[in-house]
């Protein structure tokens, strides 16, 4: 029994790392300019799935580090995504017990609110450093995130069910 849980711990670490790596790659892959405006925050969506499923493993500090790596990858102000990710992870941690029991549509609503909070934080910081938002398009990535969340949720649920991560 003990050995089994060790193995599953080991596997779950790898699954989380690989899913985040793939999300990171897909986040940086070039897409047509007109789609760029609604490009979802894939890394955050995948991260939120793991925060909600495994709050004891993926916590605020992990999210902070992942946000920092995204800052390097997207070449934004260092600490910007780290701040937004840690705050969003904190809110998700607070609500994860309730959220896990709700239906996928209610979850989507919850994730949408978190994504909007993240987007507002990012643009708040951007406004301070000289890139103020001019129109409502800056909330468009949230729309992409809402569209992609059920998809990510189903894929990652299947994967975590297969590897018995819970």
């Amino acid at each position: 029994m003990n050995g089994n849980s060790y193995i599953s711990l080991y596997i779950s670490n790898w699954v989380i790392a690989i899913s985040l790596t793939i999300a990171f790659l897909l986040d940086r892959i070039p897409i047509p300019i007109f789609l760029e405006k609604i490009r979802p925050d894939l890394v955050l969506v995948v991260l939120l799935y793991w925060v909600i499923l495994l709050p004891h493993k993926i916590n605020i500090l992990t999210s902070w580090v992942i946000g920092l790596f995204l800052d390097i990858g997207r070449d934004t102000l260092l600490g910007q995504h780290a701040l937004a990710f840690s705050i969003v992870a904190y809110l998700a941690l607070k609500a994860c017990r309730h959220i896990r029991l709700t239906s996928i549509w209610q979850q989507t609503l919850f994730v949408a609110i978190l994504l909007i909070i993240k987007q507002i934080l990012i643009f708040w910081i951007n406004g301070i450093i000289g890139y103020p938002p001019r129109d409502w398009w800056y909330l468009a990535p949230t729309l992409g995130g809402i569209i992609i969340w059920p998809l990510i949720f189903i894929i990652l649920s299947d994967i975590s069910y297969y590897f018995q991560i819970n």
Binding site: N59, L77, G79, S86, K94, Y131, R134
Partner: protein, 272 residues
């Protein structure tokens, strides 16, 4: 407990952001971390490279021969033009020495490949696969075959970041080629628009006029094409002028970095 963690994260983030925005201390950390991210860029571009490689290796002999013939022809034509250019350059230098002005020195070119683009709302950045190792410096002009693309704003060891001329925080000093009127072209956050500043409504400007760099900033060499005027609306006190960048900013795959050895076109008389 989690309150403690989140407070720690918020304070640390604000600290890092402040340092990153106002000072240069975090440069080495960013440089080191960017090396860690570099394999990701390599992986992202792998399908593209494989496609190019396959295209090159699996092309038919006849296609290659045709392409070769075309390139050869092109090279002859370019060489002929270059002959003329050499005389013109010599003449130009002679005239400038008569006017007692300093002639610009040689410009060293380096080709770089794009490894990522950051086009969110108003921030237009591209990441290039050349860094400090290849002698890239901050402020280095970036062009493509058609015209000015932008300039380097950040350098890492293996990569560097360039800001495009259409970024909302970028301005470039330009000159209208036909009349010599000098002004600034500001980025608007739209890849197809530049805005021209402080031109009186009665100035002689037509739609279709070519904008070239004026070289007054000491960064961009003089005379490179920047854009073409697409809209001219006289209004008071200054005209409302929109130009379109000449470079293919939304379809960049390779860019050229110009390394200017010190001096640009400037008149010694101004310095005295």
């Amino acid at each position: 407990m989690s309150i403690l963690k989140i407070s720690f994260c918020i304070v640390l983030s604000i600290l890092i952001m402040t340092i990153d925005h106002y000072y240069q201390y975090l440069h080495s950390i960013r440089s080191v971390l960017s090396i860690a991210v570099y394999p990701f860029y390599y992986l992202i571009n792998l399908p593209n490279h494989t496609k190019d490689w396959l295209g090159k290796n699996l092309a038919e002999r006849i296609t290659i021969l045709q392409e070769n013939a075309k390139l050869h022809e092109n090279q002859i034509l370019l060489n002929v033009q270059l002959q003329k250019l050499a005389t013109l350059e010599a003449e130009n230098r002679r005239l400038r020495s008569l006017l007692e002005s300093v002639v610009h020195s040689s410009e060293h070119m380096l080709i770089a490949e794009l490894i990522a683009v950051n086009f969110d709302q108003y921030r237009h950045n591209i990441i290039l696969n050349r860094g400090e190792k290849h002698g890239i410096y901050i402020g280095q002009p970036v062009i493509d075959q058609l015209g000015i693309v932008g300039q380097i704003i950040r350098t890492n060891f293996l990569t560097s970041t360039a800001i495009l001329i259409t970024d909302i925080n970028h301005a470039i000093p330009i000159q209208i080629n036909r009349t010599g009127v000098r002004t600034l072209a500001l980025g608007t956050g739209d890849l197809k628009e530049l805005k021209l500043l402080h031109i009186p409504a009665n100035e002689d400007i037509k739609v279709g006029d070519l904008l070239v760099t004026s070289g007054l900033d000491g960064r961009f060499p003089r005379g490179y094409p920047v854009g073409i005027i697409t809209k001219f609306e006289p209004s008071s006190p200054f005209a409302n002028i929109i130009a379109k960048p000449i470079a293919n900013l939304d379809r960049l795959s390779e860019v050229i970095l110009i390394n200017i050895n010190k001096c640009l076109y400037y008149n010694e008389n101004y310095i005295k």
